[in-house]
Amino acid sequence: MDALSFVYWVISLVLAPLLLGVINKTKAFWAGRLGPPLLQPAYDLIKLLRKGAVYSKTTTFVFRAGPVVSLAAIVMALTLVPLGGRAGLLSFQGDLVLFAYLLGLMRFFTVIAALDTGSSFEGMGASREVQFAALAEPALFVGFAVLAQETTSLSLSQILSVISIETWGQSGPALALVAVALFILFLAENARIPVDDPNTHLELTMIHEVMVLDHGGPDLAFILYGAALKLWALGAIVTHIMLPVRTGIFWADGMIFSAGMIGLAIVTGVVESVMARLRLTHVPQLLLGAGVMAVAALVLVWR
């Protein structure tokens, strides 16, 4: 634990919704619109937090626990992620497994909260979410295994601090494969376009949105904020792999990291602008493809 990591952690908690704003601005730019202001996601959160919540009589405490536990899990997961070139707030050997399963816990509670409503639509969304998650998780773990093998460490902070430009020179192909695989997972986990469309409100075609249809007010705010944090946490990992530049100076590292995150958000926005959402039957292929890339990278580093 050190003070600077804590500063980064707090800054991340505050700035996370901005990343969504950047993505939306990019999409608006591509569509020739002005787009919502950068801070719109934050305004939405404030608006939702000031509202009251309505709970259906058929739901139990599980429905109310869902958003809270999800948010707690992702805040916890964010403490494990190295931010701005600094080690994470917490780090120990094997924390990448904890990170993956905190994301799993978040997903689990979103899913059972959706099932608790008894709505057939939400059950459908839950089933899709779990199906795709089951395909995404092996890719995530194999990707992490590659990084662990490459850097002989099992801690996210150590792994990402060891990766440098020299590492890219030595085993560039493997790292590039992992980076692409993790970027695909980044899009899939955050319900971005090739997998899920965050803007659609047609229940039949969406995955994540359909699970949170019955949440309102503060609960919805927690869910949206949790999603923003998830975007930030996974984005930080991808950024650290793709942009392994460290100067050792606090502000310089912070600037590089922010530039990387904004770049990632812009790339995401561009991907969303130029691609259509995949048909649901094609999503498993994309995720399996990411898995195969990770496996190929593992084979490359294992030799």
């Binding site: 494969l177 399996l288 493809g289 190929a296």
Partner: protein
């Protein structure tokens, strides 16, 4: 240099996997063309020299331009767009692709190679392409995809040969090119004829079906 070669080899591996997961035949043809170009560049990078220059440029011209053009033409004439109901589904194919990658690296690490290879990835990549080609031939129904499988198979043989290009005589390589060209040419014609026969029967039946229904409606 080595990084460049390894990048190309990894790209070749990825094209194999992409080929296993694709259903659109046009995209498949493009991927195989990309594979041919990559192989040509690989040859040029391996041993700069007149001999390899010929082989490399020949590979790019033939596999990157001539074959895709021939196959694309057959595709347009046959009016098939995608592989429908392959024997092995796409998701399973991708998983098998991952298994093929692992298997070929395992064999590649055990295979005693008599000559020094520039990169340790060459032999596994070649094996992977061989196996992917075999798998495509077995697992797909459309004649065109099977031709593509044959091409990928040959690409595997070629990339294996590239590893010791200076040792192999030029005549052998060119002979292989000629054989390949004739084979693809014949297959292209065969595809066209098969599909013409089948298309003919198919459309005839469909239009008769519609006419009969319309006639029935008018009578009522």
């Amino acid at each position: 240099m080595t990084v460049g070669i390894e990048t190309i080899l990894v790209l070749l591996l990825m094209t194999n996997v992409a080929l296993l997961g694709m259903s659109r035949l046009g995209a498949c043809v493009l991927i195989v063309a990309l594979q041919g170009v990559l192989l040509g560049v690989l040859t040029l990078l391996f041993h700069p020299g007149v001999h390899t220059l010929l082989v490399g440029l020949g590979s790019i011209a033939l596999k990157g331009v001539a074959f895709p053009w021939l196959l694309g033409r057959a595709l347009r004439q046959a009016e098939v767009r995608r592989e429908v109901e392959p024997f092995v589904g796409y998701n399973l194919s991708i998983v098998i692709g991952a298994a093929i990658v692992a298997l070929s690296f395992w064999i590649g690490s055990r295979l005693p190679v008599a000559f020094s290879v520039v990169s340790p990835f060459v032999v596994p990549t070649a094996l992977c392409m061989l196996l992917t080609g075999f798998f495509l031939i077995v697992a797909r129904k459309k004649a065109l995809t099977q031709v593509l499988g044959y091409l990928v198979l040959e690409n595997g043989v070629f990339s294996f040969g590239v590893a010791f290009a200076p040792e192999a005589p030029l005549v052998v390589e060119l002979g292989v090119f000629l054989d390949l060209f004739v084979a693809v040419f014949v297959m292209g014609i065969a595809i066209f004829h098969i599909s013409r026969e089948f298309d003919h029967i198919d459309t005839e039946q469909l239009s008769m079906l519609r006419d009969w229904r319309q006639g029935g409606d008018q009578r009522d």
